[in-house]
Amino acid sequence: MEFGQYLGLTFAIFVTLAILSFLYKDNPFYRFAEHLVVGVSAGYFVIILWFQGLDDKLFGPLADGDWYFAYLNSSNAEYMIPAILGCLMWTRFSKNYSWVSRWPMAMYIGISAGLAIPLEMSNRVNKQLAAMMVDIKWDQFLGGADMLWLLDINSGLSQVLVLVGTMLAIIYFFFSKAHTGVFGKAATGGIWVLMIGFGASFGFTVMARISLFINRIQDTADWGKTAFDAAETANPNYHSGFQVVFWALVVFVIGYVVWEIMKTLKEPKATAQ
């Protein structure tokens, strides 16, 4: 490993700890990392959009035109329309003409709303409706032999439960009818189905989220190992350099934590979360 790369990794570990310190409370390290990442990521997306968006969608099609004809001699001259609309957005810089920027905004919203109507109707309503009309597997209603009858997701019983559960949950979403009587009972059943579903999907996500933290621990540990294992490095002479960086960061972080705790102890009672 190059020393520059190691310094980069050390900075990465430092900002990792800075973000983790947010768990304790807002502090200068977190603020530093937060403000840094806002700027850097905004800049990164400017570059990405410039090269992957503008280059592909605008400069590319207009490339065969000439700027002194305003690209109107290009074979894709129609691409000047969105460019002009884009420029109209910039009227927002002025106070008097900012109303012009409503035009491209209106087109934008019109296009997206119009796009959504048939697409969502098809994907979310029609296709779900077709999926509801299943032929129930009466012959294996209680499921396969190798599983407890209830736990077979391909059994007829599970199919029936899905259908009934869906209908109950839809009833919960009725707005124009009071949840009373039989209707109210069905709606209560619906919210129960929703809650069991939400609980299960919450529980499933826990593993995924903890995996992320485990990954951070493993990365940090790998960095520590590099500092003490010069065999991996391109130049063994860096060995002591690695350790200096390592200890500098460790001392720095521990120093801050001690200082912060001392400060909290001095203040009688401030934080209640």
Binding site: S41, S112, N126, Q128, T205
Partner: protein, 411 residues
Amino acid sequence: MKLQLLLLSLLILMFCVPVGAQEDSAMVDSLAVDSLAALPVPAPVTDIGLSDLPNDHGHAVVVEWTPSTDDGSGLANVVGYQINYGLSKDGPLDSVGFVPSASGSYEHVGSKDENDRTYIPDHTDLYYRVDVKTVDGRLLVSAEVAGPVQSSGQWYNTGRTAVLIAVALFSFLTIFYVQQAKAGKELYIRPIGGIEAVDDAIGRATEMGRPILYVLGLGTAADVATIASFTILGRVAKRVAEYQTPIMVPTYDPIVMTVAQEVVKSSYMDAGRPDDYDEDSVHFVTQSQFAYVAAVNGMMLRERPATCVYMGKFFAESLLLAETGSVAGSIQISGTDEIAQIPFFIVACDYTLIGEELYAASAYLGREPKLLGSLKAQDWGKGLFVVLSIIGIILANFGVESFGALFEVAD
């Protein structure tokens, strides 16, 4: 002797294999060629039918044929069929695809881009030939060249009629109930917890003298969830302007920012306080998901908003926002149509609008009868959904599949 036989077979093969099929000749191993003379030749395919692929933009043809009589029965030595096409009956035909044995049709879908090598011209005569490939890897060129056929685009996609009917019906219901509501008919709408809470939450912020944080989520202005969120923002901002409570709207997308600025500004004007409007209250942060969250979280702990409202599209950041909001001691109201995130909002926020309730919220907050009319249409939609699925399930279990097929949509 063996070598001579090999050369002879190769020679025969070279005549058999037309242009474009060279890559297949590479697969012929010597063993198969050895026994070439031994294996009998399967019958060719018959009745090649050609038609334009329906419901598409053109540049595609459906080729159908009756499989060889030796496919699966008879000699049973067919492994598949190679489809070739060209622009003239006598000219060279290019191989375009291969299907395994027992199949009798192939969709030849080409590109619409003239420079692409899979381009198929529209409104031009096309000719097709289906060759038989045998177990030992030989390709038997069929004598029959079918054609001509022309591909073309259609002006109506019949596979999407179900959607057209659904959209038309739903539009009719919406307009009908909006008209009824305009005419002054009373519509009952049941209370929804999260929406009732919005007013109280704004009042609370005013009492505490702390700001309100409104997060529009990670959607762009092209997401209807974000558009719904704009209207909710409009109502909240109006109330906020009346109470003179500060509002903060950090945004993720620049278009969302400009629209939100417009919304908040008009709300302040409607409330009769255009001078109180601060353009910087609606500002852009960054287009990176977690950098945005880092900034909003920092903002929450520094400004300590009394109320946080999350409406729109949210992804993994939902819980990061909601938990930090609860550390900051805010009342939190959320609503999203991202199903995977609803559990986290339910767990961490005080009030959550589940899915559709987000779209109902804008109508509720305004209490405008014409907006409530569309909720009635949505209820009719759901009612129809339940009724139709019950009918469909019963019919499907009595063996009537055609009813369910009515609702299927072609891609």
